[in-house]
Symmetry: C2
Subunit: 434 residues, 2 copies
C-alpha cells in the first residue's frame, strides 16, 4: 500500500520550523488577550450544521464541510467561531457573570476556491466582549488587535484600520429605496468587492432586485471618503446618542477620537466600503488591511447585538473579531518582520560508545530534574560531527562523555558559543548542574 504524502488539498502540515512560527504568533495572540483581561475558551471543531444556516445567503454557509455522522446527525466543521461562542453563552446564560471577555484560537474550515492568503483551513484568533453596552467594547477589541500587531513590529505605515457602521449602510440603502428585507442580502454581495469585478458585483446586485439607478447611486455613496460627505448626502449632521443613523455617524466620530486618545489614532480611518460578509453584524464593522492594499483583510469583525436573540435568547450587546494566521504571515514576510526562530536547548549529552549509554541517560535525566532542557545524542558520531549536530539542535552546552575523562569520573562540558571546555567531576555536576 502506498499513500498520498501531501496533506488534503487546502490544508497545511506544520513541520517544526512552521510550528515554531505558529507558536510565536499564537503566543502573541494569547499574551495580548490576557493583558486585556480576556479569558481563553474553546469549543469542538465539529458542530451541528444548523448553527450556520442563515437566510441572508452568507457565502460562508455555502462553503461548509458538512456531512452525516454514523448516527445520522448533520454536522459541519466550523467555518467561524462566533456561532459557537453564542451557543456557549446561551447555554450558561444564568450562571455566567457579564460582561464576558473571552478569546479563542480555533481552526476554521471553508471549502472555497483557493487564492493568495486563503486556504481551506486556517487558525483564527477570536476575541469578543459580550454583555458590555457602549463603545468601550469597540475600543477594547480594536486596542487588543492593534497592540498584538505592534508586538509583531507593525506600525501605521504598514497596516490600516478601516472602520464603518452597518447602521450607516442601512441608512444609505434606505435612502436609495432598497426595501429592508433586501438590506442583508445586498450587504453580503457588497462584501465580495475584493473578490469579483465591479461589473460582476453590479450584476449580482441587479439580480437581487436593485434598479440600475439604485446600483449607480449606491456606488456613488461607496466612493465617498468622509463621514461629513455622507452625512450631507443623507441630510444628517450626526450626534452620538441619537437613535439610528444620526447616532451612528456621531458615534463613529467619537470612536475615532477615543482611539486617538489611547494612542492608536494613526491607524484608523473611516471607510464606507467596509461591509463584512456575515449577516449578523448590526453596528460597527471593521477590517485591518495592509497599507499597500495588496493582500486580503488581515482581520475583521464587528458588533452583533442580535445574534444571541436570533439563537433564542434575549438581546445581548456583543462585539468581536476574527484574525487568521495566513494573511498576517504573508504580510510579515513581505515587510521583513518574520522572526528567525531556531530550536533552543540547554544541554546535549553526547556518549561516544554504547557502554556509555547508561551514563548518558543518567546525566540527561539529572539535568532535566534540575529544570534544564537536555537532549542526548545516541548517534555515536565522531566528535566533530557530534558538535555540528549539537549546533543544529540549538544546544547551549554539550556534555561530552570522553572515554578517558569518564574513566577518571569526569565530564567535559563545552560552551557551544564560546567554544570553551571544562572538566567537572560527574558527582559534583549531577548534584548541581549549572
Amino acid at each position: 500500500m502506498t499513500i498520498t504524502l501531501q496533506p488534503v488539498k487546502g490544508t497545511r502540515d506544520f513541520y517544526p520550523a512552521e510550528m515554531r512560527l505558529r507558536n510565536w504568533l499564537f503566543d502573541i495572540w494569547r499574551e495580548t488577550s490576557r493583558q486585556f483581561g480576556f479569558e481563553e475558551y474553546d469549543a469542538c471543531v465539529l458542530e451541528s450544521e444548523d448553527l450556520y444556516i442563515r437566510k441572508a445567503g452568507d457565502e460562508i454557509t455555502e462553503q461548509l464541510y458538512a456531512f452525516d455522522d454514523k448516527g445520522g446527525r448533520r454536522l459541519a466543521l466550523r467555518p467561524e467561531m462566533t456561532p459557537s461562542l453564542a451557543r456557549l453563552v446561551l447555554q450558561r446564560k444564568n450562571a455566567l457573570s457579564f460582561p464576558l471577555k473571552w478569546f479563542a484560537i480555533p481552526q476554521c474550515f471553508r471549502y472555497e476556491r483557493m487564492t493568495r492568503g486563503r486556504k481551506r483551513e486556517h487558525y483564527q484568533w477570536n476575541a469578543d466582549v459580550v454583555g458590555q453596552a457602549g463603545q468601550t467594547a469597540e475600543v477594547e477589541v480594536l486596542s487588543v488587535l492593534l497592540m498584538s500587531l505592534e508586538k509583531m513590529g507593525l506600525s501605521p505605515e504598514q497596516i490600516r484600520v478601516h472602520l464603518n457602521d452597518r447602521r450607516i449602510l442601512n441608512a444609505i440603502l434606505e435612502h436609495i429605496g432598497v426595501p429592508e428585507a433586501l438590506h442583508l442580502p445586498v450587504m453580503v454581495v457588497m462584501d465580495k468587492r475584493d473578490k469579483i469585478s465591479g461589473e460582476a458585483l453590479d450584476t449580482q446586485l441587479s439580480e437581487l432586485g436593485l434598479e440600475a439607478e439604485q446600483v449607480s447611486r449606491l456606488n456613488d455613496f461607496l466612493r465617498m471618503e468622509t463621514l461629513q460627505q455622507i452625512g450631507e448626502a443623507l441630510g444628517h449632521a450626526g450626534h452620538a446618542g441619537d437613535a439610528g443613523f444620526s447616532g451612528a455617524l456621531g458615534e463613529m466620530r467619537r470612536l475615532m477620537e477615543t482611539l486617538e486618545a489611547v494612542g492608536f489614532g494613526g491607524y484608523c480611518q473611516f471607510d464606507i466600503t467596509v461591509v463584512r460578509g456575515l449577516s449578523y453584524y448590526t453596528g460597527t464593522v471593521f477590517e485591518i488591511r495592509d497599507a499597500g492594499g495588496k493582500l486580503r483583510a488581515i482581520c475583521g469583525g464587528g458588533r452583533y447585538d442580535s445574534l444571541l436573540s436570533a439563537f433564542g435568547g434575549d438581546p445581548v450587546p456583543a462585539i468581536g473579531f476574527g484574525f487568521g494566521d495566513v494573511v498576517i504571515l504573508e504580510l510579515l514576510a513581505e515587510v521583513g518582520l518574520l522572526p528567525e526562530l531556531t530550536p533552543e536547548i540547554d544541554y546535549v549529552v553526547i556518549p561516544f560508545s554504547k557502554d556509555q549509554v547508561p551514563a548518558a541517560l543518567t546525566v540527561g535525566q539529572a539535568l532535566r530534574r534540575a529544570g534544564f532542557r537536555a537532549d542526548a545524542d545516541f548517534g555515536f558520531r565522531k566528535l566533530k560531527r557530534a558538535l555540528q549536530r549539537a549546533g543544529e539542535i540549538g544546544a547551549r552546552k554539550a556534555v561530552l562523555l570522553m572515554p578517558e575523562e569518564l574513566e577518571r569520573g569526569e565530564l567535559v562540558v563545552r560552551d557551544m558559543a564560546a567554544r570553551e571546555e571544562k572538566r567537572v567531576a560527574v558527582e559534583a555536576f549531577l548534584a548541581s548542574p549549572e
Copy 2:
C-alpha cells in the same frame, strides 16, 4: 430560529475554567517534551481516509468520522496521529536530519459508544522518536511520560507502567500453532480485554479460526506473571541481542534495568496482557494505568518499525505514544491532585461615571504598554460591588478613579489582598506603573 445549545454528542465545550485546566495540562506536556529535546509539529485534523485503512481489522478504522468533500475526496477526521506523522516524515525523508524527536497535541476523533473516560473526541499528546535504533528510544519516551506524570504530582502508588513486546506475543501465538497471517487480527481482538467479557473475547477468537484448545492455551499464557515463566514455557532463557523472541525477552529485562537506573524503576512491570489495538506495532508495547485498575489506560504506545515501509518507504525504526486528556483528568480528580486554577490579572481599572471612561481607557492602556495585565470594569457599579467583581476576576490591584481624587489629579491604587490603598499622582503612575 432556535438552536441546540449542547455541543455535538461526545464532544466537549471548554469554558474558561475548563480551558485553564486544559492549558495547565498542555503546558506540562509541552514543557516536558521540550526538556527532552522534542520539537512540536502538527498536521490537519482532516486527512485522506486511506491513511487509516488497514487489513488487520483495527477497531479504530471502524470508527472513523469519514465523508466526501464537495470535490469528491474521501476524507476523515484523524482518529490518531501516528499515520500523519509517518506521512510528514516520508514527504521530506531526504531533507530531514534523523533521529527526529517530535511531539504534538492533536485533537483526535473516534465514533464509538461512550463510556467512562471515553468521549468521541479527545486531545492526545504524542511524542515519537523516529530513526533512532536501539533501546535508548524506549527509555526516552517512557521517561518523558513519567516525568510529565510526576510534574502532575503522581507517584508509583497511583500509576503503573505495564510493559510488553509484540515479539513475545508473536512467539506465544506461534508456539500454540496460530498461523502468522492471524497474528495481527488475533492481537486486535486480544486488546479488547478491558471492554468485553472473557467469554465474548474467547468467542471472537474462535470466530477468527482459533481452536478451543488454542484459546485455552493462550489464556494460560496471559495468566503468567513473569518473564521467567514465559521463557520457561517457551523453552528460551532470553538474551538481549539475539534474534526474535529470545532477544525480546532479554531486551525487556534490560529495559527494566535501565528504567530503574534513571529513577523510574518503581513504576514498571512486565505485563503479558498488554497488546495495544493498533496493528502497526512491531516490538515494545506499553500502557500506563492507574494503580487501582479502575480506569481505562492513561496512555499507550509502542515501537512501529514497519509503519513507514508499509506506507511506501524504507524501514525506519520508530517508537511513540498517545496520551489523552480525558482519563488523566479523571485520575487526578480521584486522587485529589487537580490544581485549583483561578483567573489572574495585575490590575483592574475602575471608573465610577461615564465621563471617566477616557481616563480609564488611557490608564489601562498605559499599564499594558508597561507590560502588565490590566482589565477595566465599565459596569459603573458601587465601590463595594466593584471591588467584589475585582476579586472575582483575580485582580492583584485595583485602580480606582474616585471623583474627588481624580479632580486633584490622583488615582487610588488598592492592593486587593492587603486591603490597603494609596493615592498616587496620575502622571507619575502613568510614567512608571508598579
